[in-house]
């Protein structure tokens, strides 16, 4: 099962990860701690981590003075759109955006066309991602066609290395089916991820149901639409022992439920998206669909709860839910436009700018914790999130925590432009990204 992963960790398939690269002058921060050190990378692996290293003749030098050198970030939740919606994004453009955002691995969501519910479709994505600028792992669908009726062939997909399954885009509506899926998944040792949205409560809602939706005359999705499914799946997890990972939690109620469940020892985990700790439902006041997303932007109380979840460990990861949409779709009237926002290039900077947490904690949320959750870390034969030490695969990001930059939608690597942060000045920027020894981003510029 780990064969696929092993191929990638050597970087041999690419070739550009050969030779020596020296990351000089930075402060290495990983889950073992923080220390001033240079990092020497040879043939795709870290070989030396110490102060005052000199580059070998012919080595590439990546200057990292004043920067943090960390394991590459891992995104649990990316929509690469290929196959099926290449006008919005491709694996190539999406992974370029990921690399620019400091990510060395992303988990591709299965709501492509065709959906990732078969061995063939998953193999196809792996093939398409062979030369990608970040490692692409896949989340398989829980049900065939993501239709919520029959279980997808999870064992077959698990044999290909798939560790996370979700019908994201939708939640599994039937409690009975979800319970069966959990039991089956537990036997396989894989995790089910849930996009919590009860369709009968969400019914046609286009934004959070509350004071703003009432004033703007837009149908709303009440917080309960998310919370009833969170509560249900906690109960099912408790009953079956199966692990449930909650995608993009957005309400205080959901977070409370998860906090209490974890205190009891129920095996649930959770991720949150940057837009849910930086934006509120009032952003929809101008009816600009760039602010339309599922789950929707919520009021300040929920934003505060999401931040608290990141601070106290209720949330295990920050995941972007990068969701590109072609510009003409985001020009539709608010209720007709598809929900979703770009996220790969802004997640790190938003976390640094808006969250009052030490960088070690942020890196845990962005790198090694998500890596462990989806099985991309060394413990599962993967190559991401692990300590920067001799012998480790060289998947690194170099971050300048004080650089300021302004978000320009036309300058992003994505094929789409739907970022809600256009014009916002952020602090913190990825300077270099190294993928399996290859510098794919140097001085904030993609190398291919």
């Amino acid at each position: 099962m780990a064969d696929r992963m092993a191929d990638r960790t050597t970087g041999g398939a690419r070739g550009a990860g050969t030779g020596e690269t020296l990351v000089r002058g930075g402060t290495v921060i990983d889950r073992t701690g923080s220390r001033r050190a240079d990092v020497r990378v040879v043939d795709g692996r870290v070989v030396e981590v110490a102060e005052g290293l000199d580059p070998a003749p012919g080595a590439r030098v990546l200057e990292a003075g004043g920067c943090v050198v960390a394991p590459g970030l891992v995104d649990l939740h990316t929509h690469l759109r290929e196959p099926g919606r290449e006008e919005a994004e491709t694996i190539e453009s999406g992974t370029r955006a990921a690399a620019l955002g400091g990510y060395t691995a992303v988990v591709a969501m299965p709501n492509t066309d065709p959906p990732l519910d078969s061995a063939e479709s998953v193999r196809n994505v792996f093939a398409l991602a062979d030369q990608a600028m970040a490692e692409v792992a896949v989340a398989g669908a829980i049900t065939v066609g993501r239709a919520g009726e029959r279980l997808a062939p999870m064992a077959e997909l698990a044999d290909l290395g798939v560790r996370l399954f979700t019908d994201d885009g939708d939640g599994v509506q039937s409690a009975g089916l979800m319970r069966r899926a959990l039991q089956y998944a537990t036997g396989l040792g894989v995790i089910l991820g849930q996009h919590c949205e009860d369709r009968s409560l969400a019914a046609g809602g286009t934004m959070h149901e509350g004071a703003w939706s009432s004033r703007l005359g837009l149908p709303g999705m009440p917080s309960e639409a998310e919370e009833v499914m969170v509560a249900r799946d906690i109960a099912l997890s408790r009953a079956t022992g199966g692990r449930v990972h909650f995608l993009h939690l957005s309400t205080a109620g959901s977070i409370d439920l998860v906090r209490r469940a974890r205190a009891e020892g129920v095996p649930v985990t959770a991720e949150v998206a940057p837009h849910h700790f930086t934006l509120t439902d009032g952003c929809a006041a101008g009816y600009d669909p760039v602010f339309k997303v599922n789950p929707p932007l919520r009021p300040q109380e929920d934003v505060d709860a999401v931040k608290a979840a990141l601070a106290d460990g209720t949330a295990d990861a920050i995941a972007t839910d990068h969701a590109p949409h072609a510009p003409e779709l985001k020009d539709l009237p608010f209720d007709q436009a598809p929900p979703g926002m770009l996220g790969l290039q802004t997640a790190l900077a938003l976390s640094l700018t808006e969250l009052d947490l030490p960088i070690e904690r942020l890196l845990a949320l962005l790198s090694w914790q998500p890596a462990a959750l989806c099985g991309l870390d060394a413990a599962h034969g993967g190559a991401h999130g692990g300590p920067v030490e001799p012998g480790a695969p060289a998947n690194l990001c170099v971050i300048d925590p004080t650089a300021t930059w302004t978000v320009d939608p036309t300058a992003l690597a994505s094929r789409s432009r739907n970022t809600p942060y256009a014009g916002r000045t952020l602090t913190g920027r990825v300077r270099h990204t190294v993928l399996a020894g290859e510098p794919v981003v140097i001085d904030a510029e993609a190398q291919r």
């Binding site: 004071a211 009432s214 703007l216 005359g217 020009d331 608010f334």
Partner: protein, 323 residues
């Protein structure tokens, strides 16, 4: 007095002074409407486009009549006609209109917020919201205000008569753009607005709404109101699912003949139309002298002429050098 806004997207765009200005200017246009030849050359050479994505012959004709009476050229685009092809994006349609050269575009759409978005895309073109989804229908509220002012005998008094006026709005508030506009409009002039509806037909949140109160019991408030404004159950916007049956709705919330008797003698009855006789209003009640429904329709043209005049006649063109 602050300048009139560039667009009329919502009653929130108009403060009390601007509303008073609209009503006062409407008086002049009402006089024009009474003439044998109800036409003035005020907007000659200007082009006004109506862009109706939702069917509404009455409102569209009212706007078009208003524009024509001011000698403007009128172009009509309606959904389903060949000029608005299915699948052509809204933005492309707006760009076509801009290229032809419009001074004003009057939009009705089933999605809230469309006029606001269009206003961001156009240049030197005034946007008038003729109704967007559940959100706003400002000219309807303005003509309701004008009708009430007429009934109160407020010609020269302007809008003082609205201060403390008790207004009751009954019906499907949740899905009603007319209600949202009316509430803002009446409250801006100092009236006290009470909403009456079953709980499922109220908006999810009334936080920040400038209302005096909410009631689920129509009979309890009937005797204490000066104006009663009835809303139609918006079946096409899905309101039917919010009440068990039409019969149950009518039993609780229709203005029947019996209920009309409980109104004070000076109270006036308004309905934005079209009426569904027997559901929210009894046929015989619609014919009472206190029901000002036909006045509302008649006033619509004059109010819309005033709005177009204030949007287009206020220095929106480039100023030529002037001796």
């Amino acid at each position: 007095m602050s300048p009139f806004p560039t667009h009329l997207l919502s009653m929130d765009d108009l403060d009390a002074a601007a509303i008073a200005e609209v009503l006062r200017v409407t008086d002049s246009f009402a006089e024009v409407g009474r003439r044998a030849n109800p036409k003035v050359p005020t907007l000659r050479g200007r082009t006004v486009a109506t862009l109706f994505f939702e069917d509404s012959t009455r409102t569209r004709m009212s706007f078009e009549t208003a524009a024509k009476r001011m000698s403007a050229d009128v172009l009509s685009f309606s959904a389903g006609s060949s000029s608005v092809k299915k699948g052509e994006s809204l933005r492309d349609t707006i760009e076509t209109i801009q290229a032809i050269g419009m001074d004003a575009v009057i939009i009705r759409h089933s999605s809230s917020g469309v006029p606001a978005r269009v206003a961001e895309w156009v240049d030197h073109c005034a946007v008038v919201n003729a109704g967007d989804g559940w959100h706003q229908h400002p000219t309807q509220a303005l003509l309701d205000l004008y009708t009430v002012r007429q009934s109160l005998g407020g010609g020269d008094e302007g809008t003082d008569a609205f201060d403390g006026l008790r207004v009751t709005i009954v019906g499907d508030i949740r899905h009603s753009r007319v209600a949202r506009s009316q509430i803002t409009a009446y409250a801006a002039l100092g009236a006290e607005v009470t909403l009456v509806a079953p709980a499922t037909l109220l908006p999810p949140s009334l936080e920040g709404w400038p209302i005096a109160g909410v009631s689920h019991d129509l009979d309890a408030v009937l005797g204490d109101t000066d104006v009663i404004s009835l809303l139609r159950l918006q079946a096409e916007r899905g309101s039917g699912a919010y009440v068990p049956t039409m019969r149950e709705y009518s039993a609780g919330y229709a203005l029947t003949a019996r209920r009309a008797l409980q109104l004070s003698p000076e109270a006036i009855i308004l309905h934005p139309g079209p009426m569904v006789r027997g559901v929210e209003i009894a046929s015989e009640v619609a014919e009472l002298p206190s029901a000002r429904i036909t006045d509302q329709v008649g006033n619509g043209v004059a109010v819309r002429m005033a709005v177009l005049f204030l949007l287009l006649g206020q220095g929106t063109r480039e100023v030529e050098s002037h001796g």
